[in-house]
């Protein structure tokens, strides 16, 4: 089965690149400031400000990918397969700081983000994705696994489109690659395989 990457977004400390080219950041260090990126991308999503940083970067990458265009699939035929290294560790550590014996005020708003796959849930809410989903944690991106698992879902006719990628954030370092996988291609589409994901991740 031929699958294609029809859109992608790479967001890292080096900047933001998408299938439409680089996103011009007025300041070099803007990539470290999710709220500045929110303003730059002219988002209007109040829930954004309640999210932890991993989720904020996930939504920002999603916005670069989809550009507010409604997805042309029903919710249940869209899958989401993501992976990351640190999961929610950055938020876990912040939450831990609210648990000090001499200053014990656990933050509920932080607590709800202390799971690796919450970022996947936020993306599902934002883009109305209700199909198959998987979030794995690994030291480095395992693009073979992501490609094989995604392809299997397409072959089993469980999904007709899929948001796939690596989404990681820890200690101010965002490291994200999101790709949109479909069975149809356009002139700019790339084959969905290990080599493509590896080359887009660089």
């Amino acid at each position: 089965m031929d699958l294609f990457v029809t859109k992608y977004c790479r967001l890292s400390s080096k900047g933001i690149n998408t299938h439409k080219g680089g996103v011009n950041l007025p300041l070099n260090d803007m990539v470290y400031d999710p709220q500045a990126l929110y303003t730059l991308l002219q988002l209007s999503y109040p829930k954004f400000f309640k999210m932890d940083t991993l989720c904020k970067y996930g939504i920002l990458a999603g916005e670069c990918l989809f550009e507010r265009n409604p997805l042309s699939y029903t919710s249940s035929e869209i899958g989401i397969i993501l992976s990351g290294q640190h999961g929610s560790l950055d938020t876990d550590e912040q939450f831990q700081q609210t648990l000090q014996p001499d200053n014990f005020f656990p933050s509920p708003a932080l607590f709800v983000y202390t799971l690796s796959n919450i970022v996947m849930g936020e993306l599902c809410i934002r883009y109305k994705i209700k199909g198959e989903n998987l979030f794995t944690v690994s030291a480095t991106p395992d693009y073979d696994l992501l490609c094989q698992y995604t392809t299997a879902l397409f072959l089993q006719k469980r999904i007709n489109a899929c948001l796939v990628g690596w989404i990681d954030y820890y200690q101010r370092q965002p490291d994200i690659l999101l790709v949109w996988v479909e069975t149809t291609s356009d002139t700019n589409a790339l084959p969905f395989n290990y080599n493509t994901l590896t080359s887009l991740y660089i």
Partner: protein, 87 residues
């Protein structure tokens, strides 16, 4: 009471990350949940933490919480009543 209400408005904006909102945008008599500010259940828990941490004031049960968290003014009245009782 008015000073406490203003202080609470600032606390709520900061604690709940209500972006682009100023104290003047918050009606102290308007409902906090559902309509009005449209806060959710996690926000309610954050408000409980705020009262405990900054104002050393504890909401004792869910029924009391429903009354306390009706509006900014009702929170201010609750804090003031507790502080008066403890002084």
């Amino acid at each position: 009471m008015n000073n406490l209400i203003e202080e609470l408005k600032n606390d709520i904006i900061e604690q709940l990350n209500l972006q682009d909102m100023t104290p003047a945008d918050i009606d102290e008599n308007a409902p906090l949940f559902g309509e009005g500010l449209g806060l959710d259940s996690i926000d309610a828990l954050e408000l409980i933490v705020l009262l405990q941490k900054k104002y050393k004031t504890k909401v004792n049960n869910a029924d009391e919480g429903k009354e306390v968290f009706k509006s900014v003014r009702s929170i201010a009245e609750f804090i003031q009543a507790k502080q008066t009782a403890n002084s």
